[in-house]
C-alpha cells in the first residue's frame, strides 16, 4: 500500500508554526509522507505544491483569522486544477460562526485548539481518497 501524501502549509503572513510542525511530525510518525511548505505561502503556491507532490491531503494551519479569505481561494484553485478529490483539512483558531461556511465550500476537517493528534491522524486515514494503483 502506498503512503498517504500530505502537504502541510502555513498560508498568510503569520509565522506561528508550532502547530503546523507538531502535526507534520505526528503524521509522519503515523506513516504518512509529509511535505511541509514552510511559511507564508499564497493559495497559488499551496495548490501548485499539492499538484507537484501528488498530494492526497492538504493541511492548512491558520491562526490569524485570515481563513475566510484563504480557504475559498484554495478550494477554487483546486477545482480549477481538477484536484477536487484532495482532502482539505484546516487546523487553528476558527470562530464557531465561520465553521459552516468552511464546510460548505468543501473543507472536510476543521480542528480547533486542543484536538488530539491521534484524532487528526485517524480522520485523515478514514477520509482520504483511495490511491489508484499505478
Amino acid at each position: 500500500m502506498s503512503k498517504i501524501r500530505v502537504v502541510i502549509a502555513k498560508p498568510g503572513l503569520d509565522g506561528h508554526d508550532r502547530g503546523a510542525k507538531v502535526i507534520a511530525r505526528a503524521l509522519r510518525d503515523a506513516g504518512m509522507e509529509v511535505i511541509y511548505t514552510g511559511l507564508r505561502q499564497t493559495p497559488e503556491q499551496i495548490v501548485s505544491a499539492a499538484l507537484q507532490e501528488d498530494a492526497d491531503v492538504i493541511g492548512l494551519s491558520i491562526l490569524s483569522g485570515a481563513h475566510n479569505h484563504i480557504c475559498p481561494r484554495v478550494m477554487e484553485l483546486l477545482r480549477a486544477h481538477g484536484l477536487d478529490d484532495v482532502l482539505v483539512v484546516v487546523g487553528g483558531i476558527i470562530p464557531d460562526v465561520d465553521i459552516p461556511k468552511l464546510t460548505e465550500m468543501g473543507v472536510k476537517g476543521i480542528f480547533l485548539p486542543g484536538t488530539p493528534m491521534q484524532q487528526i491522524v485517524e480522520f485523515i486515514q478514514g477520509n482520504v481518497r483511495e490511491r489508484e494503483n499505478v
Binding site: Y36, T42, A66
Partner: protein
C-alpha cells in the same frame, strides 16, 4: 533493632514513578539544606540581599514597596480609531502603560494592498500604514505622560520613527519619552518567524537604533530581548532562559562591535519572559535570569555601570496554556501564572484574557485580566516584601540548576560561533521543535494533564461571547492609504526612500533617513521595500 529495619523501606505508593515540572525536569520528594554549592565552593543562595549584585533576589532593595510593577495590557485590533478607544478605556480603568499589538501586515512591513495581506488587515492587531495612522492611534493620549511598549521587530526602526514624529508634533521632546520597542529579531528567527531581512543586516538595523536612542531618546528601552515567543513555540524553561540571555549577549556584542560603549546602551536593554504554569520553576527562572545577566555584563563585557548589570523584565502569562475548552478555567491559570511573575520580581506584567484561545479579547475579558493583577497587588500581600521565596530549599536548588543549564547552552552556542551563526545553522529552532513535540506527546499520553482538554472534560462548555473582527478594517485602511498617497508630495517620498537605500548600502545610521521618509508620509511597505531592495529577504530552511 530488627534486621528488617536496616533494609530500605518499601517506597510508599505514589501517583507517578517520576514527578516532573512542565518542562520535564524531574523533582525530588523533598529538598533539604544546606543547598547547592557552586564550583568556587560558595553557596549562591547566601550571597546577597535584594538590590545587590547579582540581583538574584531582585533589582530593588525594597521589592515592590517603592513602586508596583507596571500593569501593561497588550492591545490592538482593527483600525487606529478602534484601538485608540480601547487604550483610553484601559487607562481609565487604572492601566499604567500602553502596549501596542500590530496586525500582521504591519509586523511584516506590507501595505494593506499587498497580495499577502489578504484577509489579515486589522485581524491580530491594529493596522498602521503611515504616519497618519500613528497620529490617530495616539490622538488625545499625552505621550510625555504614558509609557508605551510597541511589539514590533523587523520594521521596529520605522514604527519607532513614526512614534517619535507624533511626539514631536504633540510638542513632547524626545528626551521626555519613555517606553520600549521590542526590536528583537533573533527570537523571530528562532520562534515567532516574523522576519523580513537576513540576520546580519537585521542586526545592523538594531545597533543603529541602539546608537540613536543612546544619543536622542535616552529614556527609551531600545530593545526587549524576548523569551516569551521562544517559550510559546515549545521551549522548556531552561531553553527560554538560555536562548533569551544568549540573544542578549549577541546584541551586546554587536553593539560593541559597532563601536558603542557597553555602558552607553546596555542600561536601556530590557527583557521579556513568559509566565508559564509551573509555579516554582518560573519563579526560579526569573531569579536565575537576573543573576546570570549581571554576571555576564560584569565579567564577559566589563560593564562598569550598575544599570548595565540590572536585568529589568516584562512578563506575560502563557498564551499557549489557555484552552478553548472550558474557557473560564483560563482566569485561574492566568492568576496563578501572574502570581509567579510577581513573586519572581517582574517589572511589568500583561495578564491574558480568558477568551484568547478563541479570539482577541473582548473589552470585558481584558478588564477582568487587569483586575487579576490589581487583586494580586492589593489583596494578597505578596507585594509587601522583596523575594518572599528566597531561602526556600527547593527554589534555590531550581535557581541553581537553571543557571547551570543556561551556561551549558552558552558554551554550545559560543562553540557554534554565536547566536547568529547558530540560527543560520538551525540549532535553537531544532531544540525548540523537539521540546514542542515531546510536550505534545506527553499530553497525548496523559502524562501531562490539561484540565478540560485531556482530563476532566465537559460536554457542556459554557459559550463565551467573542470579539469577532470583520473585514471592515481592510476597506478603511485601503481608503486611507489612497488618501495619504494623494495628499503627499511624491518627489519628496522618492527622495527619502532613495536616501534610505543609500544609507543601507553604506554604514551611516539609518534612523535619520527613516525619520525623513516618515515625515514625507512614505508607507511602511514602501520603507521596508527600500531596504528589501538592498538586503533581500530571509527564507528559512523549514525544519520539522
Amino acid at each position: 533493632m530488627s534486621s528488617d529495619a536496616k533494609e530500605t523501606p518499601a517506597r510508599p505508593r505514589e501517583r507517578a514513578e517520576v514527578f516532573r515540572t512542565i518542562s520535564g525536569r524531574p523533582i525530588e520528594r523533598v529538598y533539604r539544606g544546606p543547598g547547592p554549592v557552586d564550583s568556587a565552593g560558595a553557596r549562591p543562595q547566601d550571597a546577597q540581599d535584594p538590590g545587590t549584585f547579582p540581583y538574584t533576589r531582585g533589582i530593588h532593595a525594597n521589592g515592590y514597596r517603592g513602586k508596583l510593577w507596571t500593569m501593561r495590557q497588550f492591545a490592538g485590533f482593527g483600525t487606529p480609531e478602534e484601538t485608540n478607544a480601547r487604550y483610553r478605556h484601559l487607562l481609565a480603568a487604572g492601566g499604567t502603560g500602553l502596549s501596542v499589538a500590530f496586525d500582521l501586515p504591519t509586523l511584516m512591513g506590507r501595505d494593506p494592498d499587498h497580495e499577502l495581506s489578504l484577509g489579515e488587515v486589522g485581524k491580530c492587531g491594529v493596522s498602521v500604514v503611515s504616519l497618519a495612522d500613528m497620529e490617530t492611534l495616539f490622538a488625545g493620549i499625552p505621550l510625555g505622560q504614558v509609557t508605551t511598549s510597541m511589539t514590533i521587530n523587523s520594521p521596529a526602526a520605522m514604527v519607532f520613527a513614526m512614534y517619535l514624529v507624533v511626539a514631536q508634533r504633540q510638542g513632547v521632546p524626545w528626551t521626555a519619552l519613555s517606553g520600549t520597542i521590542q526590536n528583537d529579531i533573533l527570537k523571530e528567527f528562532i520562534a515567532q518567524k516574523e522576519y523580513i531581512y537576513p540576520p546580519r543586516p537585521s542586526m545592523r538595523l538594531i545597533t543603529d537604533t541602539f546608537a540613536f536612542c543612546a544619543r536622542e531618546v535616552p529614556r527609551w528601552n531600545s530593545i526587549s530581548v524576548s523569551g516569551y515567543h521562544i517559550r510559546e513555540a515549545g521551549a522548556t524553561a531552561a531553553q527560554e532562559l538560555a536562548f533569551t540571555l544568549r540573544d542578549g549577549i549577541e546584541y551586546v556584542q554587536y553593539g560593541i562591535d559597532a563601536g558603542l560603549d557597553v555602558d552607553e546602551f546596555a542600561p536601556r536593554m530590557s527583557f521579556f519572559f513568559n509566565a508559564h504554569s509551573d509555579f516554582f520553576e518560573e519563579i526560579a527562572k526569573y531569579r536565575a535570569a537576573r543573576a546570570i545577566w549581571a554576571e555576564v555584563m560584569r565579567t564577559r563585557f566589563g560593564a562598569r555601570s550598575e544599570r548595565s548589570w540590572k536585568l529589568r523584565f516584562h512578563s506575560q502569562t502563557a498564551g499557549v496554556s489557555l484552552t478553548a475548552q472550558q474557557p473560564y478555567n483560563n482566569v485561574v491559570r492566568t492568576a496563578l501564572q501572574a502570581l509567579s511573575a510577581v513573586l519572581g520580581g517582574t517589572n511589568s506584567l500583561h495578564t491574558n484574557s480568558l477568551d484568547e484561545a478563541l479570539a482577541l479579547p473582548t473589552e470585558e475579558a481584558a478588564t477582568l485580566a487587569l483586575r487579576t493583577q490589581q487583586i494580586i497587588a492589593h489583596e494578597t500581600g505578596v507585594a509587601g516584601l522583596a523575594d518572599p521565596f528566597g531561602g526556600s530549599y527547593f527554589l534555590e536548588a531550581l535557581t541553581f540548576d537553571l543557571t547551570r543549564e543556561t551556561y551549558a547552552y552558552f558554551d554550545r552556542i559560543d562553540a557554534l560561533g554565536g547566536m547568529v551563526a547558530a540560527i543560520e545553522e538551525g540549532f535553537p529552532q531544532r531544540e525548540v521543535a523537539e521540546s514542542a513535540y515531546r510536550f505534545q506527546r506527553a499530553v497525548e499520553r496523559k502524562e501531562q494533564v490539561i484540565v478540560g482538554v485531556n482530563d476532566f472534560v465537559a460536554t457542556d462548555d459554557p459559550a463565551v461571547r467573542i470579539l469577532y473582527i470583520d473585514d471592515a478594517a481592510t476597506d478603511t485602511q485601503m481608503t486611507r492609504l489612497a488618501e495619504v498617497k494623494a495628499r503627499r508630495d511624491p518627489a519628496e517620498v522618492a527622495r527619502a526612500l532613495h536616501a534610505m537605500r543609500r544609507a543601507a548600502q553604506g554604514t551611516d545610521n539609518l534612523m535619520p533617513p527613516i525619520l525623513e521618509a516618515v515625515r514625507a508620509y512614505a508607507t511602511l511597505g514602501e520603507m521596508c521595500d527600500a531596504l528589501r531592495d538592498v538586503w533581500g529577504e530571509w527564507e528559512e530552511q523549514a525544519i520539522i
